[in-house]
Symmetry: C2
Subunit: 295 residues, 2 copies
């Protein structure tokens, strides 16, 4: 999979678990020449420098190094994209590619429509990407070079995305070991609203609701393997997931509506001793999940 | 932990994953002399015999061997207890101990109250037990001798349970490697309604609701590690869990009510862009779950 250098000078905006792992992977595979790092917190970019994640830190968009990067990797909360792009775009070279790694896509597409008026051509050089990888740990210290190996990365090219830019970003993700799939931003958000965002919402809500019981915290100490696995994702970052829930609220709340209707059917089947309905719903779920295989 | 023989002749009613594992563990540790096995399906008890789980099969309560057992282990769906006990009790010796391994307890206590009139003294020799162990697989073929090692077993003695009988059953569970905790049947059902039954109900309902989406089955193929762990328990036995949900409906539906209220707060916080409430609920759950340790 040795591809040679794809980008000469990469600027990583955000150097935590995701951004840091992208840098480490790209350096290890020899896909980048020089890597610049930026974080809102100076100590974070310094930590990334010390860990060999980046070759050099920049203090902000005013740094002269920004003027000759050929790619920007955005690995920051999606809600910060607009402000950060507005700050950096005036200093970035006009043909510099940009790709992100965020968990929601339609909201970014809308934001790019708005910024396009101020920065014409932005949409042609922006590639929406979402690597299906991560974890509960945060920060540069959690970054590892093999985070994306064998993992799926979903790309959501816009109509205006340039074919050559898209090809480079595809080669970059393939180069760091990811598998690619492509879909539009709406389909992406619907799919991940269903298979990732809703389970996170339910897991957070379940733990929070048991904590609302006077003996709930004590009860949960007795949780077994089922409890452990069901609630693992409830330990995830509240800030990051509040962002995701707000940014993908339409698809998420629509799937939540289907869940609410289903749980209401189960409640009513239990209340009315309707064994047939109860077993039918459980059997449907159990049948699907027993045959499910991890992609 | 070698204790010597606790029971000379044990009758296992139900020889699947749980019953079969109890027999294998007791034989391996030398806690029982002779083990008889009964299953509603003759082929199941024959399979248990072939696997060395039991020493001998009996065809039913009419078998003369039933008259000299000193303990019965009930490892069948809780909904079948009453019928099976009514069949076997007339043939069992009057001082024979009985313990079970079911997931709900208050319903069994109520059933014992009813049977006590027909079989006076039954409550003094019945010990309610619930080992916190199991899995998605079923049948004698899934039984293993170490299933209970290091696992918790909850005992719910009734007011009438004889101290000597309780002591024997405690020594038996300790002898096969379990840790013991004791609580009353109501507390047990409230606790496991919260930490086991509700997560199962939510996991079944989640998978079923996504399957209700036209593209749901396709979406779930893209599920990552979070999806995998969150939904693992949705592969469990529909029959067994329909039983549990019906048998523990009061405690389960009460906890479900707290969950429904919590998810309604989250929905409303997302709909109204109430970031503070959203983050407060997520942070509460994440804070608790990050510090949780598997017992």
């Amino acid at each position: 999979m040795a591809k040679g250098i794809i980008f000469n000078r990469m600027l990583a905006i955000g150097v935590g678990l995701i951004g840091g792992s992208i840098c480490l992977a790209a350096k290890k595979r020899g896909l980048v020449g020089h890597v610049l790092g930026y974080s809102r917190k100076l100590e974070t970019s310094h930590e990334a420098l010390k860990l060999g994640i980046v070759d050099e830190c920049i203090a902000g968009p005013g740094d002269s190094n920004v003027r000759n990067v050929d790619v920007v990797v955005l690995s920051i909360p999606v809600r910060q994209y607009k402000q950060v792009l507005t700050q950096f775009l005036p200093s970035l070279p006009p043909n510099c590619l940009i790709f992100d790694a965020g968990s929601t896509k339609s909201d970014v597409a809308v934001m790019l429509n708005e910024l396009e008026q101020q920065f014409p051509g932005l949409k042609s050089r922006f590639v929406l990407a979402h690597p299906i990888a991560g974890g509960e740990s945060h920060g540069p210290g959690a970054a590892v070079a093999n985070l994306f190996e064998g993992k799926n990365c979903v790309l959501c090219p816009l109509e205006q995305t340039s074919a050559s830019g898209l090809k480079k970003v595809e080669n970059f993700w393939l180069g760091i070991g990811a598998k690619l799939s492509t879909m539009n931003a709406m389909d992406h958000d619907e799919m991940f609203g269903a298979v990732s965002h809703l389970p996170h919402l339910l897991a957070f809500s379940y733990v929070s609701s048991v904590l609302g019981h006077p003996k709930g915290a004590e009860f949960m100490k007795e949780g077994g393997a089922g409890y452990r696995d069901f609630t693992r994702i409830a330990a995830s970052s509240p800030e990051m997931w509040a962002d995701i829930f707000q940014n993908n609220s339409a698809a998420l709340l629509s799937m939540l509506g289907m869940f609410e209707a289903n749980i209401a059917s189960l409640r009513s089947a239990i209340e009315s001793d309707d064994r047939a309905t109860l077993e039918r719903i459980l059997a449907q779920a159990s049948g699907y999940r027993s045959n499910w295989k991890h992609n």
